[in-house]
Symmetry: C2
Subunit: 165 residues, 2 copies
């Protein structure tokens, strides 16, 4: 029903990986381990840093680490970091610019209810939950082999949706 950005999908994959190995690692390193193309990792990381989910260290031997423990990073954070600001239709409270139709809008701010319901759902799931009971990185071995650039994804249709049932 809702479509989630492919980049957001990647973000979750990277975050899960970071949640496992709690230490500073360079982007290319994370890329190798997850199979996500390096430039893409870089792009996603930028967003993640801006969103405050990840802390970066510059300079040689720099890299990225989770900014807080995995159980304090929720789904909503991740999605927001990648998907940008947010605000549902002009109808939503957030639209600070204000909606000129508000006075005669048949919805009259009822999207808000939907918004909050969904957000509540998304706040209820932490990175720890998602990374949790997962098989150890079996695939870590497979990394750094392959044709170099685009080993990983790209095959599976990719983009993320919201389940129907």
């Amino acid at each position: 029903m809702f479509r989630i950005n492919k980049l957001t999908d990647y973000a979750v994959v990277l975050l899960v990986d970071m949640a496992r190995t709690q230490r500073v690692r360079a982007a290319h390193d994370i890329a190798a381990e997850t199979g996500v193309p390096v430039p893409t990792v870089a792009k996603v990381m930028k967003a993640l840093v801006r969103g405050g989910l990840v802390r970066s260290t510059r300079g040689a031997s720099g890299g990225y680490v989770l900014a807080r423990p995995a159980d304090r990073i929720v789904m909503a954070d991740m999605i927001e970091a990648l998907e940008g600001p947010i605000a549902m239709t002009a109808c939503v409270d957030h639209a600070d610019d204000g909606c000129e139709r508000e006075g005669f809008c048949p919805m009259a701010g009822h999207w808000n209810r939907v918004n909050h319901a969904v957000r509540r759902a998304l706040v209820g799931i932490t990175l720890a939950d998602v990374a949790g009971s997962c098989h150890p990185p079996v695939w870590a071995n497979r990394a750094s082999q392959g044709s170099g650039t685009s080993t990983g994804p790209r095959d599976s249709g990719g983009a993320v949706y919201l389940a129907s049932e």
Copy 2:
């Protein structure tokens, strides 16, 4: 966080309008009352009919009516009708085509949890809820005046997002 199609937004507006006046009305009629351009109403209605939310009558004096009472139409229905099938990433159960990465995917089907959480939220809100405590169609008067074609929306940014807060 999630972006909702503009068409889906329109769909909700139209459904709310239909929920109020429970009788068969032609597309152009509904268009006039809501301010949504006629061709767009037609397009949305087609999706709504295919989705089984609305029943159509063809021929002269035909039109559209809600297929069931408003309190039995949930947000998830509306969104699914417009946004198509659904399934979140290849990771999701639904992806019947099966995901070849499943064996070594760091998420290992955990999107499912997210999916279901969101869907549950969306199933909990009915059209009746949304249309409910709303001011009467004040704006109905404003209809059918204006330059004819694109009176209504188009001004407000339009597309729908999911609230951040």
